[in-house]
Structures are given as C-alpha cells and as structure tokens.
Symmetry: C2
Subunit: 203 residues, 2 copies
C-alpha cells in the first residue's frame, strides 16, 4: 500500500481496459470503477486521460531501454550480444504483452508533445540496435547486401507482432519463442560467404 496505491490500481485497470477495448473506447468512468476509486482520486494523480497512456509507455520504454543498455554494457563478442539482446527484447515484450498491444494501437492518439517524446525514445532504441548490427557487419558476421534499416525493421516486426498471436496459455513458453524468433532472425541476417560463423573467433 503506502502512498499512491491508487495511482497503481488506476494504471493497472487502465492497462487492462485499454488492451481489451482500446484507448478511445474506454471511458475514464470505466477505469476508475474497475480500479475501485473515484474520478476525483484519479485526477488527483493524473492530469488527463492520456497521462495514463503515457505512463504505460513510459514504464515499458524505460525498462526495455535499461535492459538493452545493460546487455550492451556487459560486452562480449558482437554475435553473442546481438543474440542476447534479441532474446531479451522478445522475452520482455512477452512480459509486457498488454502494454505492447496498447502501444502499437494507440500511440497515435497521444497529443503532439507526448508523441514526440515516445517516438524519440523508440528511435534511440532502434539506433542502438542498428549500431550493434553495424558492428557485426564490420566484422563480416552479418550480410551487407540489404539496407541495415531493413534488417532492423525485420527484427522489430516480430516484436510488434507478438501481441497479435502469442498467448501465455499457448503451447510455447516465452523463452522458447524468444529463442526461436532470435534464431530465425540471426539465420536470415548471417553472412553466408563462408561456413565460418558459430565457432570461429571465441577469443
């Protein structure tokens, strides 16, 4: 409990409702009722309805960015770093599946300044990932016959699409899916000039 259990309950309820009904079709009334609080309480902690939306994005973006930075900072062979990053992104995206659903559906409903910030932060994320791929290309690990931006898009498309098909109740666990998607991605972007790829330069 402590302070602002209210804010938490509201965020939770909002997330659930936004994910299942969409942002625009969910009324503030519904949210506060589901959260077991009143409008007054909610507007005491949030300035507006889109504050709720932004809060959801903020949590997810911050966490994923922190993960990415952490993995990159840990260092190691590029191939391993890329693999770890891919697996992590898929896994955390599955952890934040409702957030992802809401994100891609309703991002465009944020008012201009907010939208700018979200877009900006996503771009930073993509750029960091692209930089990793670049390092891999420089080492001759990844193909260069296709624009790097397309490789980036190719990977993130899987992440986006997760919320359209993955279900925790399904047959596959999140780490299985993460491994499998990562493997598909890596196979598609690996340079095929030589057969040398998996056990070549282990320090």
């Amino acid at each position: 409990m402590k302070t602002t259990n209210v804010a938490d309950q509201v965020t939770r309820a909002a997330l659930e409702l936004f994910a299942s009904q969409g942002y625009a079709t969910t009324s503030v009334q519904q949210i506060v009722e589901a959260a077991g609080v009143t409008k007054g309480a909610m507007y005491h902690y949030f300035q507006s309805k889109d504050d709720l939306l932004f809060a959801i994005y903020d949590r997810m973006l911050s966490l994923q960015k922190a993960h990415l930075d952490g993995i990159v900072a840990a260092g190691g062979p590029v191939a391993d770093v890329v693999r770890a990053v891919c697996v992590d992104v898929v896994e955390t995206s599955i952890d934040f599946l409702p957030e992802g659903t809401v994100f891609f559906r309703s991002m465009h409903m944020l008012p201009e300044p907010r939208l700018k910030e979200v877009t900006q932060r996503r771009r930073e994320y993509h750029d960091e990932f692209a930089a990793l791929l670049r390092r891999g290309q420089d080492e001759g690990l990844f193909r260069t016959d296709v624009p790097r931006s397309l490789l980036v898009a190719h990977f993130f498309s899987d992440v986006h699409y997760l919320s359209h098909w993955y279900s925790p109740e399904g047959p596959e666990t999140k780490s299985q899916v993460a491994q499998q998607l990562t493997e598909l991605f890596l196979r598609s972007i690996t340079e095929q000039g030589r057969g040398a790829d998996d056990r070549a330069d282990q320090h």
Copy 2:
C-alpha cells in the same frame, strides 16, 4: 462519375483521415467535408461510421485473398509458389499501406459481428499460407524444428510492420523491399540439412 461517385469519395476521404488521425478521433463531419458531400448523402450509402471502416478492410482482404488464390492456383514448385506469394503480399501491402495502417490500429473497434468476419477471413488467409509451408515441409524444403504457426507469424509480422516504417518516398522501391523481405524470410525457414536447395529438383 456514374453511380455513387459519392460513396467512392467518402471511402477515399475516410481512409485518408483514419490513416492520419485514427478512426476514433475522426468525426463523420470531417469525413463528409473532406469528401465534399453532406452527412445526409453519406448516410444514404453507409449505415454507420463503422461501415466505412469495414468497407476499407473488405477491399483489402478481398484483393489479397484473390491474389493468393490466383498464385496458388497457377501451380508450380512449392518453393516458387511460396516465393511468389511472399513477394505479392508485401507488394500489395505496400500498395495498400494506408489501409494496413488503419487495419491494424482500428480493427478492434469494429462491433462484434463485423470483427468476427474480419478475423475469420484473415484466418483463412493465414491457413492457406500455412498449408503452403506444410507442403514445403513435406518435401523437405523447409525446417520443421520450429512450430509452423511461428513461421507463419514470423512472415506476417513483416507485412504488418510495413506501415510503421516504409515510405514510398524512401530510398527503396516496393519490389526491392518485397524481394529483400522475402529473401530474409526464405533463408530463415529453409532446411539446412544439405546444401541442396536452389537448383535441386527443377521438374
């Protein structure tokens, strides 16, 4: 001209506005003003606002399904058919980029019966694609160490994601992108047991 130029104008305007502002945040007033008609005229041809949304989906789904059926019916080696289907889906999805944007953002706002139909028709499409992959797997062309449904999702994720990054003004043409994405996909799903894949069994 002819009959119902009005309906056409309205559909066009609606598509443009839905794609740029979102479905929920676009008012019927805006649409009819952009289309140069009146509300009365619009409600003469459409029963409701979500009729417009459905009309957009309908066009896209029908066209893509027809393409798919045509390519499959034309026959040929499975590998070629799959390749042709992938290229075609990407290309037509680029042709229908605004429709795609609207589709994935706003599908969930359709009333239940309509939503059911759209979901159903998408599923048929996916199933037909999955059947193709199955044929390829039976012939030993495609890998079987990953659930087929994941392979399907892996491909359609690229198609979905197009509207998030592709721009006709960008450096790449639509057929380049189609070729490249198809190539990435095919490489990731091709069975690697032997090096025999591209020139093995040509009739």
